[in-house]
C-alpha cells in the first residue's frame, strides 16, 4: 500500500503520461547524454518505480561493479524514502532487494545473444518474473543495429520493457537539428523512446526526442535534482 501511494506520486508516472501510447511490454527506451549527467540515476529510478509496485526488475550492466550498482540503488532509495517520508522503510527496502537481480557482464564484447540467453534463463528456469529490464553501459558506438533488433524481438516475445542508457562521446555537435543524438539515428526502427539529458541553467532537464513514431524535441516538465539526483517535476 505504501508503495502504491509512493508510486502514484512518482515522477516516472509523469514521464510515462507524457509519452504517446505510454511505455510497456515490447518497448525499448533510451536515456542519452554525455557521461556523468544522470543517465544511471534515471534508469535506477525507473527500476525503483517498478520495484515499489512489487514488479521484479533485472538490471543488466556491462561495466560497473555490482557493489557500485547496488550503491546507486541504496543512495536513490534513501533519498526517495526521505523525500516521501516513507514509513516502514526497512520493509520496503527488503522487498526492493528481493525483487531485483543484477546481471553483470564483465567481458568486453559480450554477445547480445549471450546476454539475452542469461535473461531468459533467469525468467524461465530461474522463475524470476521480471517485466522490466534495465540495461546500463551498452555500447551504441559499435555497430549494433542487429543487436537492438534482437533486443526488440526478445522484448516483444517475452513481453518485457527495456530501458537503456547511451553514453554520448566525441566532439560537438552530438545532436542533429531535432535534438536526436547522431549515434542513435541508425537504430531508430528498434528504439521506441529516446530521452536526452542536458544541462540547463544549473539543472539537468529531460527532452523527449523520439516518442514512438514521432520525432520532435519536447521539453519534459522534469529535472534531476543535482543534490539528490532524484527526478522532480518542474
Amino acid at each position: 500500500m505504501v508503495k502504491k501511494i509512493l508510486s502514484a506520486r512518482s515522477p516516472i508516472k509523469t514521464l510515462e503520461k507524457n509519452l504517446r501510447g505510454g511505455f510497456g511490454p515490447g518497448h525499448l527506451g533510451v536515456f542519452a547524454s554525455r557521461k556523468g549527467v544522470g543517465k544511471t540515476a534515471c534508469l535506477v529510478q525507473i527500476a525503483l518505480d517498478r520495484l515499489f509496485e512489487e514488479k521484479p526488475v533485472i538490471h543488466v550492466s556491462y561495466a560497473s561493479r555490482v557493489d557500485y550498482i547496488i550503491s546507486w540503488y541504496e543512495e536513490l532509495f534513501k533519498n526517495l524514502a526521505s523525500r516521501e517520508n516513507l514509513k516502514s522503510e526497512m520493509e520496503v527496502h527488503d522487498r526492493v532487494v528481493r525483487n531485483r537481480v543484477i546481471l553483470n557482464f564483465r567481458q568486453e564484447g559480450m554477445k547480445t545473444e549471450q546476454v539475452l540467453k542469461s535473461i531468459d534463463a533467469l525468467l524461465g528456469p530461474g522463475n524470476f518474473a521480471a517485466r522490466t529490464i534495465i540495461v546500463d553501459g551498452f555500447n551504441f558506438y559499435l555497430p549494433c543495429a542487429e543487436d537492438l533488433a534482437r533486443f526488440k524481438q526478445f522484448a516483444t516475445k517475452r513481453q518485457l520493457e527495456f530501458w537503456f542508457s547511451c553514453s554520448l562521446k566525441g566532439e560537438d555537435p552530438l545532436f542533429d537539428h531535432l535534438g536526436l543524438p547522431f549515434v542513435l539515428k541508425d537504430y531508430l526502427p528498434s528504439l521506441d523512446i529516446i530521452i536526452t539529458l542536458e544541462h540547463d541553467n544549473g539543472r539537468v532537464r529531460l527532452n523527449l526526442v523520439k516518442d514512438h513514431d514521432q520525432i520532435s524535441s519536447k521539453k519534459l516538465r522534469l529535472k534531476l535534482d543535482p543534490q539528490t539526483l532524484l527526478l522532480t517535476r518542474i
Binding site: V66, R98, Q107, K117, G126
Partner: protein
C-alpha cells in the same frame, strides 16, 4: 640484523579447492629434498600427498587440518603452513593466517579467481598478509594466465603484474620466460629437478619485453631509484628485485608467477620468489596486549635475547599425546625451560621441542624468534599465549564467528560413549567454532559449527580417529527471537510464606535494539535501592536464554527500568531478580516478538549454461539472487539464502550441473522468518513442551 632471521620465511599456501595446492606443496617438499618421491593427491599410487596427511583428507582429496612443515631453499629456512581451502573450515585458515608472514595465493589458470579465492583473499587482507600469486595448471586445456592476472587486478582489487610469461600453453607448455632476469627456463629430468637456463625464444622476445614494461610500470611506484633508472635505461636485476620486494611486503603489489606443479614446471622459480619477495619475520610488526597494563598494545621484537612470547595456533593429538604448534614472536624457547600460559595462568616446563615435517618430526633443542615449532605434553588450548615467567601478554584474540548450525549426536553403545566424550573434548580445544553442549530438556549432546560440512567432518573424525559410532539427528538451525515494538511492564513480585518474605516491583519498558542486549537504569529517587539494580539486570538477562516463542535465545533487546518499589525488610537480590523475570514475561508477548533465522551469503560458481537452473534452485530455497556476474563461459551467482533451506544443497547442485558448479556460504545476518514457517516452528515447540510435561 640476525642472519638466521633474515633467512627465515613463514608462509602459507592459500587457494581455492582443487586449484592444485596440495600437489604444489608436494613438489615444494620434493625440490627442497624433504621427500624423495612424488605422490599424487587422492592416492592414485596408494601413497597420497604427504601434506594431506589425515586419512579422511586423503579419501576426499581435500586438506582439512593445517599441517606445518619446514624446508630449506637457497639457504633459507621456510616454514610452510598448509591451509585448508573450504570455507566451512574457516577457523583453521584464520588461525594459520595469524601466524604467517606471507602467502602464496594459488589460482587455477582455467578457473581463475573463483568464489573461494575471494574468501581466501579477504582473509589475507584481514590479517595483512603479503602475497605472491601462482597461476597453476598451465598444462590444462583453456589455460590463460593473462586473463587470471587481469582477474587478480579486477576482482581482487590488487595491483598485480606478471613476473613470467609462459613458453607455450596447454599440452604445448614447455617452460617460462622470467621477466626479471630476461631468460628462458626449462625444467628437465624425470621430475623437473634440473632447471635449464636459455636465451628467450625469438618469437617471445617482443611479448616478453612488453610485459616487462608493464612490470616496471607497476613497481616503479615503490622505488625512486628504479624510476630514475628506467628513464636512463639502466635497470639492474637487483633494483627490480628490491622494488618488487618493497611493493609486495607493503601489500601494494602482487607478483604473478606461474607454472604447472603437476607437470613439475615453475615450482623452483616460485621458491626463489618466496625467498626474494616475501618478508622475513623481522619485517612484520606483531603486537601483543599487556594484560598487566589494561591490555596496552606492545610491539614485539624478533630478538632472541628478549623474554619469550609465543602463540599456540594449533593442537593435534598424536600417538605420543597432545602436540601444540606454536609460533615464537619474541625471544627464544629451549627444552627444559619454564614457561607461563597467560590464559590458564599456569607454569609448565618445556619437554620435547620438535620441528614438523607433515607426519614426521625432528627433535630440536632450541628455537628462536620468528620460528614455528611444536611442543609435546603441554596442556593448553589453541589461541593461548605462552610467555617467559614475568611477562603477562596475550596475542590479539582472533576473530571467532558464532556457530550457525547444530546437530544432536548420540553414541550407539556404552564403549563409544566414553570415547565420544574424549573426542569432543579434543575437538573443542582444537577449534573454537566447534561447540558442544547438553540440551537440558532432551538431555541430548548437541554439537554446533559453521556449516553442514564442518559438522560432517567432525562426525567422520569421531569414527576414524576415536572409533566412535554415533547416531546423528537432523541438523538444526540456530534460530533467534527478537521483539519488534516497545512494550511497557509494571510487575510486583510478592511472596509471603512465613519467615522472611519477598518483595520487589519493577516498572519500565522493553524496546528493540540494534545490538544484542542493553540494560538502562533510569530509576530516580531511590525507588529501587542501588544494590538491587544489578539484580534486575540479572533477572532480565536470565530470560534472554530462552524466548517464549520457540525457546531460542533473544537478541536485539533493550530494557529500560524507569521506576519501582521496594520493602525495607522483604526486598532482596532474589526478589528483584524474580520481579524482573515476571516483568519480562508480562511484556514480551506485547512487544510482538518474531522468530529470526540465519541468512547465508551463498556464492555459486557455475558454467553459464547451467545458470538458469542455479537461479531456479536458489529461488526455490527462498533465496534472494543479488547478482550474477558473467565472465566468458562462467557465472558467479551471489544470493542470500536461509540456512535452513541449504541442507543437502551440494548434492543438488552437483547433480544439476554435472558436477561442474560449486558453492561457498558464510553467515550474513539474521532475518525475520516468514509467518507460515514461524507458525510451524511454534507448533512444534508447543508439542515438544507438552510431550515434556506428560513425561
Amino acid at each position: 640484523m640476525n642472519e638466521n632471521l633474515r633467512r627465515m620465511r613463514n608462509i602459507g599456501i592459500s587457494a581455492h579447492i582443487d586449484s592444485g595446492k596440495t600437489t604444489l606443496t608436494e613438489r615444494i617438499l620434493y625440490y627442497c629434498k624433504k621427500i624423495h618421491r612424488i605422490h599424487e593427491v587422492k592416492g592414485k599410487d596408494g601413497g597420497g600427498a604427504t601434506m594431506d596427511y589425515m586419512e579422511l583428507e586423503r579419501e576426499r582429496g581435500i586438506t582439512i587440518t593445517s599441517a606445518t612443515t619446514n624446508v630449506t631453499w637457497n639457504e633459507h629456512s621456510i616454514n610452510i603452513i598448509d591451509t585448508p581451502g573450504h570455507v566451512d573450515f574457516t577457523i583453521e585458515v584464520e588461525r594459520s593466517l595469524r601466524v604467517l608472514d606471507g602467502a602464496i595465493l594459488v589460482l587455477c589458470s582455467v578457473g581463475g579467481v573463483q568464489s573461494q579465492t575471494l574468501t581466501v583473499d579477504k582473509q589475507l587482507k584481514r590479517y595483512n598478509v603479503p602475497a605472491i600469486a601462482f597461476v597453476n595448471k598451465l598444462d590444462r586445456i583453456g589455460a590463460n594466465p593473462f586473463k587470471v592476472k587481469d582477474q587478480i587486478n579486477d576482482k581482487l582489487g590488487r595491483r598485480a603484474a606478471l613476473l613470467q610469461v609462459p613458453i607455450g600453453l596447454e599440452d604445448r607448455f614447455q617452460g617460462l620466460v622470467d621477466l626479471v632476469r630476461m631468460k628462458a627456463y626449462y625444467f628437465d629430468g624425470p621430475n623437473g629437478e634440473v632447471v635449464r637456463e636459455e636465451e628467450i625464444p625469438p618469437e617471445l622476445e617482443d611479448p616478453a619485453w612488453q610485459y616487462r614494461e608493464e612490470l616496471l610500470d607497476a613497481v616503479s611506484l615503490f622505488s625512486d631509484e628504479l624510476t630514475e633508472a628506467i628513464l636512463e635505461n639502466r635497470v639492474t636485476r637487483e633494483m627490480l628485485l628490491r622494488a618488487i620486494r618493497k611493493g609486495t611486503i607493503n601489500r601494494e603489489f602482487t607478483p604473478v608467477l606461474m607454472g604447472s606443479a603437476y607437470r613439475n614446471k615453475g615450482v623452483q622459480l616460485l621458491l626463489d620468489a618466496v625467498v626474494n619477495y616475501l618478508p622475513d619475520p623481522s619485517e612484520v610488526e606483531n603486537i601483543a596486549l599487556d594484560l598487566d597494563r589494561e591490555e596496552k598494545p606492545v610491539v614485539l621484537k624478533a630478538d632472541p635475547t628478549l623474554p619469550c612470547v609465543a602463540y599456540a595456533f594449533k593442537l593435534e593429538e598424536g600417538p605420543y599425546g597432545q602436540l601444540t604448534y606454536i609460533r615464537i614472536y619474541q625471544g627464544s624457547l629451549r627444552k627444559g625451560e619454564e614457561l607461563y600460559n597467560t590464559r590458564s595462568k599456569q607454569k609448565f616446563k618445556v619437554g620435547r621441542v620438535v620441528r614438523m615435517h607433515a607426519d614426521h618430526m625432528e627433535d630440536i633443542e632450541e628455537t628462536g624468534s620468528g620460528d614455528i615449532a611444536a611442543l609435546f605434553g603441554v596442556n593448553c588450548a589453541s589461541g593461548d599465549t605462552i610467555c617467559s615467567p614475568g611477562l603477562n601478554y596475550a596475542m590479539t584474540s582472533i576473530y571467532v564467528p558464532e556457530p550457525v548450525i547444530s546437530l544432536a549426536i548420540e553414541a550407539s553403545n556404552k564403549l563409544s560413549a566414553d570415547r565420544l566424550a574424549k573426542a569432543l573434548n579434543r575437538f573443542i580445544r582444537e577449534d573454537p567454532t566447534f561447540r558442544v553442549y547438553i540440551d537440558p530438556e532432551s538431555k541430548q549432546t548437541i554439537i554446533q559449527g559453521m556449516g553442514e560440512l564442518h559438522l560432517d567432518v567432525y562426525v567422520e573424525r569421531m569414527k576414524r580417529e576415536y572409533r566412535v559410532e554415533v547416531v546423528t539427528g537432523r541438523p538444526q538451525v540456530a534460530y533467534r527471537e527478537a521483539i519488534t515494538v516497545r512494550a511497557d511492564f509494571d510487575y510486583t513480585h510478592k511472596k509471603q510464606t512465613g519467615g522472611a518474605g519477598q518483595f520487589g516491583r519493577v516498572i519500565g519498558y522493553l524496546e528493540p535494539f540494534d545490538g544484542q542486549y542493553e540494560f538502562v537504569n533510569e530509576v530516580r529517587g531511590g525507588h529501587i535501592p542501588r544494590e538491587f539494580i544489578p539484580s534486575c539486570d540479572k533477572g532480565f538477562q536470565a530470560m534472554l536464554k530462552k524466548g517464549q516463542l520457540i525457546g531460542s535465545p533473544i537478541i536485539g533487546l533493550r530494557v529500560v527500568l524507569t521506576d519501582g518499589q521496594f520493602h525495607p525488610v522483604d526486598s532482596s537480590d532474589i526478589a528483584f531478580q524474580m520481579a524482573a523475570q515476571g516483568a519480562f514475561k508480562q511484556a514480551y508477548r506485547k512487544a510482538r516478538p518474531q522468530i529470526l533465522e540465519p541468512i547465508m551469503k551463498v556464492v555459486v560458481e557455475t558454467p553459464s549454461e547451467f545458470s538458469g537452473n542455479v537461479f531456479g534452485s536458489l529461488n526455490q530455497r527462498r533465496g534472494i539472487i543479488v547478482s550474477s556476474i558473467e565472465d566468458g563461459s562462467y557465472s558467479r551467482i551471489e544470493a542470500e539464502v536461509p540456512l535452513s533451506e541449504m541442507f543437502g544443497y551440494s548434492t543438488v547442485l552437483r547433480s544439476m550441473t554435472q558436477g561442474q558448479a560449486e558453492f561457498t556460504m558464510e553467515f550474513l545476518k539474521y532475518s525475520r522468518l516468514p509467518a507460515a514457517l514461524a507458525e510451524q516452528l511454534m507448533e512444534e515447540h508447543r508439542q515438544k513442551l507438552e510431550a515434556g510435561d506428560k513425561k
